[in-house]
């Protein structure tokens, strides 16, 4: 048995800080290496803020910000950015609309002023709206080809219902199809109202403040992000399934938990490291190495402003559905029944530290992570503080959090009918599934 080395990751240096005239906080971290700059503007909102009947609005708006803004048409903006060989994009996630810029340092003075134009003066040209909406509709349809996506959609729709995290950021076809310019204008006017944060990492140009807020530009009102309560998950345990003529059965077993800012999220992160990070992880060893049940197995646990999902995923040959379901359920049950051993916790900690270091390799990784953390209303040093706090968590604490937050998971399945039935039988007979209703059989 090997010992676990306690490696120390040097803390992330403090950034230079200032505020844009309208209130948006800016953090700048200078870094050596290649002469490049990465910027992330994290604007609270995202698909969780899509109003009822307008699911897909945030992503549609995100796609349109670079299709004409300020003085530049969409083509002119693309000519400028691509002509320099750089990358400027905007995408919506569940909690935010995020503008990402990655460029050679020499190009930054030309490109940084575009951030202001995108958030304040998007054209929302009807012709471009029609194109972008059509592309999103096509993507939604194509995603149905992936059985993982189908099982994922089913599970999130069950865990979060019609609420904010219940749909893919791309939206819902019938509602997306009805989104028009007036809706997008409303969405654009809201940008920044719930908080925003801008992070720049790399080699920034001189006169940064002036570039980010040109003298003649209107003031963008965007307040610093607060740790606002996000979407709650309320679902009771259930089995949801989708029939598909596939080789494998996809199984997702999961629950909605707590926001990143909740103190218990750190315990969940360590449980995720224990269960699903690396080839020595519990699920990998138990399901893949010991049973040969899967190629791909792990834990999906993205950080969210609201009740973050915590999901085991596995895909296994249809004819092994019974064994796969049994083993997956028993791994979840194990989490509830017994605390981690001291050596398991030490290994999970080492992985947590390792993953943190691996996430600080590029300017883009750092900008992305820090903008998200600030956007959640947490401090710049959140990650380093978490690394320190993690060292003082013990197995009993992790176990208590698991019992508190993971006691009632739901199971989502996608695969051929026989495999679905076999899995449903195992679920119905298992303590986790007994007495849970079945929903949404298709």
């Amino acid at each position: 048995m090997s010992s676990t080395t306690t490696t120390t990751l040097p803390p992330l240096p403090q950034p230079e800080r200032f505020q844009l005239p309208g209130g948006c906080p800016v953090s700048v971290l200078r870094r050596g290496g290649p002469a490049i700059l990465s910027a992330r503007l994290w604007i609270r909102g995202g698909s969780a803020a899509d109003p009822p009947g307008q699911r897909g609005r945030s992503q549609l708006l995100a796609g349109l910000l670079s299709r004409g803004c300020g003085e530049l048409s969409g083509d002119q903006l693309a000519d400028l950015v691509e002509g320099l060989g750089d990358d400027l994009r905007c995408e919506a996630s569940e909690d935010a609309l995020v503008i990402s810029l990655k460029c050679a340092s020499d190009d930054a003075p030309t490109l940084l002023p575009l951030l202001e134009a995108m958030v304040q003066r998007p054209w929302l040209d009807p012709d471009q709206i029609s194109l972008e909406r059509q592309l999103n509709l096509q993507t939604l349809a194509r995603l149905r080809e992936d059985p993982f996506q189908q099982a994922h959609d089913l599970l999130q729709s069950h865990l979060y219902g019609q609420g904010p995290y219940g749909h893919d950021p791309l939206g819902v076809e019938e509602e997306l199809a009805g989104l028009d310019r007036s809706r997008l204008l409303e969405a654009a006017a809201d940008l920044g109202g719930q908080g925003a944060a801008l992070v720049l990492v790399g080699r920034p140009p001189r006169d940064l403040e002036q570039l980010l807020h040109p003298a003649d530009a209107p003031i963008w009102t965007a307040r610093p992000p607060l740790a606002l309560p996000g979407q709650q998950g309320e679902a009771s345990p259930a089995l949801v399934r989708e029939e598909q003529d596939t080789e494998q059965l996809v199984l997702l077993l999961g629950a909605s938990t707590v926001p990143l800012g909740d103190p218990r999220s750190l315990a969940l992160r360590l449980l995720q490291c224990h269960l699903g990070v690396g080839m020595s992880s519990r699920l990998f060893v138990a399901l893949r190495e010991e049973h040969g049940l899967a190629y791909d197995v792990g834990v999906h646990a993205p950080a969210r402003c609201g009740a973050s999902p915590f999901v085991f995923h596995l895909s296994s040959s249809a004819e092994r559905a019974t064994e796969a379901t049994r083993e997956l359920l028993s791994e979840w049950q194990r989490l509830l029944d017994q605390p981690l051993s001291e050596s398991e916790l030490a290994l999970a900690l080492a992985k947590f530290r390792g993953a943190s270091a691996a996430g600080r390799q590029t300017c883009g990784q750092i900008a992305s992570r820090q903008a998200m953390v600030l956007g959640h209303g947490l401090g710049w040093s959140y990650a380093d503080d978490a690394l320190r706090r993690a060292g003082s968590l013990d197995p009993a604490t992790l176990h208590a959090v698991a019992r508190q937050l993971l006691g009632r998971p739901s199971l989502s399945l996608c695969g051929p009918p026989q495999a679905l039935n076999a899995a449903a039988q195992v679920w119905g007979a298992h303590p986790l599934g007994r007495s849970s209703p079945e929903q949404g059989v298709s």
Partner: protein
């Protein structure tokens, strides 16, 4: 906004060059220190891709890559992962047509142990029969998972149609019957033949300032490899496995269940990896045609005519002949129009050479893609390890300089003709 012409090399780019160390047995080790890097990447490369498989070995290279992680003479199954991950490290591997590589990312203080573990694991795999049976199940699951993605099925079919007589036409994962027929002894023989000096390289990149490589490698499994007698392989490095590629043009159709959108897939043959200058030109041409909203194909097919959800043209640089692979995703009823417009875009480029600014745009996209890739230890180790494996180690700035050697006229004369529609193997995949 006016745009001044500047070469893609910027004054602020200061690249250290990789350092090469040749061990007494002929194995080459290449390294590069990166300031700012918090971690070190160790990357072991070997010319043991699927193209080197014999007739009854389909899937062997990839299956072996899996089996390597099941332990060595010295390491129990799972011990490597546990120890590397206890160091705060992570590891993975990938098998391609031409080569395979195994990489570990660790904090600097874990390098000595991780290097020792990695080399032992890769060079002395245990290939235990019980593990072999179990891991075959995992590989079969991997195969099933890829078969459930209709797009992957379509791409695999395209390659088999385009390269019918060549290993590139066979799936890297192999097929069920071949996998079921394999045994540990044959795998051991495959390993013995492939994992030898001059067929493998090692790269280290990241926070390696202060590491003394000679000391780290002395007595390692890598230094212990039996040298290959010079009579067996006279001259330079051994040639790549498999014959030269001769892509077979054609027009094919496939109906796939569970496909939601049609795919038009096209493959063209381009110059092989060894021709660095031509590869740089091919990179420019494919970027000019399909990278970014203002590239020729994206502009025409997606933005103007609105025929596709997406169109991509990827350059796959390969030893026996590179492949340009195009994928257009569209509604089934648009396929004919999409195909016509692709041909039209090509004809226009032939008739009217693009403006210098359009080439400069491509040059910058390629140069920045490369520059951005030099940030992480893993991508640098991958780059220099792969170059070293194939005897093509070069200064980091060299690829940027090669981009300058291509003019609009030269691209039009030498490379554009290779992308003619009639030279493509075309597969139309439609929902069943």
């Amino acid at each position: 906004m006016p745009q001044s012409f500047r070469p893609p090399l910027q004054a602020a780019d200061s690249f250290e060059d990789p350092r090469l160390l040749r061990l007494p047995n002929g194995v080459e080790v290449v390294s590069l220190n990166q300031e700012q890097a918090p971690l070190v990447c160790l990357d072991f490369w070997c010319r043991a891709g699927s193209a080197g498989e014999g007739p009854d070995q389909a899937g062997m290279a990839h299956f072996l890559e899996h089996m390597v992680f099941k332990g060595s003479e010295r390491l129990e199954a799972g011990e490597f992962d546990r120890r590397v991950e206890s160091l705060g490290g992570s590891s993975n591997a990938a098998t391609g047509f031409d080569d395979v590589h195994f990489h570990v990312l660790v904090p600097p203080e874990g390098v000595a142990e991780a290097l020792d573990l990695l080399l032992d694991l890769v060079l002395k795999p245990r290939l235990d029969p019980g593990d072999f049976q179990m891991e075959r199940q995992v590989v079969l699951e991997e195969l099933a998972q890829s078969e459930d993605q209709p797009e992957e099925v379509a791409f695999q079919r395209l390659l088999s149609l385009a390269c019918p007589q060549h290993p590139y036409g066979r799936p890297i994962l192999g097929d069920r019957s071949a996998l079921k027929a394999q045994n540990p002894e044959r795998m051991a023989a495959f390993h013995r033949n492939s994992y030898r000096p001059r067929r493998c390289s090692l790269a280290l990149a990241g926070a390696i300032d202060g590491l003394v490589l000679d000391d780290l490698l002395a007595g390692s499994a890598l230094a212990d490899l039996e040298p290959v007698p010079s009579s067996a392989l006279p001259g330079a490095l051994p040639p790549p496995a498999g014959p030269d590629l001769a892509l077979r043009p054609g027009v094919h159709e496939l109906r796939l269940p569970r496909l939601e959108a049609a795919r038009l897939l096209m493959a063209w043959q381009l110059p092989a990896a060894a021709d660095l200058e031509a590869v740089a030109g091919a990179d420019l041409l494919t970027s000019l045609m399909a990278e970014g909203r203002r590239s020729r194909l994206v502009q025409r097919l997606r933005e103007d005519r609105r025929l596709v959800e997406s169109v991509d043209l990827d350059l796959n640089v390969l030893e026996a002949g590179s492949l340009a692979l195009l994928e257009a995703v569209c509604a089934p009823e648009q396929v004919a129009a999409v195909e016509e417009q692709i041909a039209e875009v090509w004809r226009e480029l032939c008739c009217t050479p693009p403006a210098e600014s359009e080439l400069e745009r491509a040059r910058r996209l390629v140069a920045n893609g490369y520059r951005f890739g030099l940030e992480s230890a893993s991508s640098v180790a991958g780059l220099i390890g792969h170059q070293c494996l194939w005897g093509r180690l070069q200064p980091l700035r060299h690829p940027l300089e090669l981009l300058q050697r291509w003019s609009v006229e030269r691209l039009g004369a030498e490379l554009l003709p290779l992308l003619a529609p009639e030279r493509a193997c075309r597969l139309l995949a439609l929902p069943a």
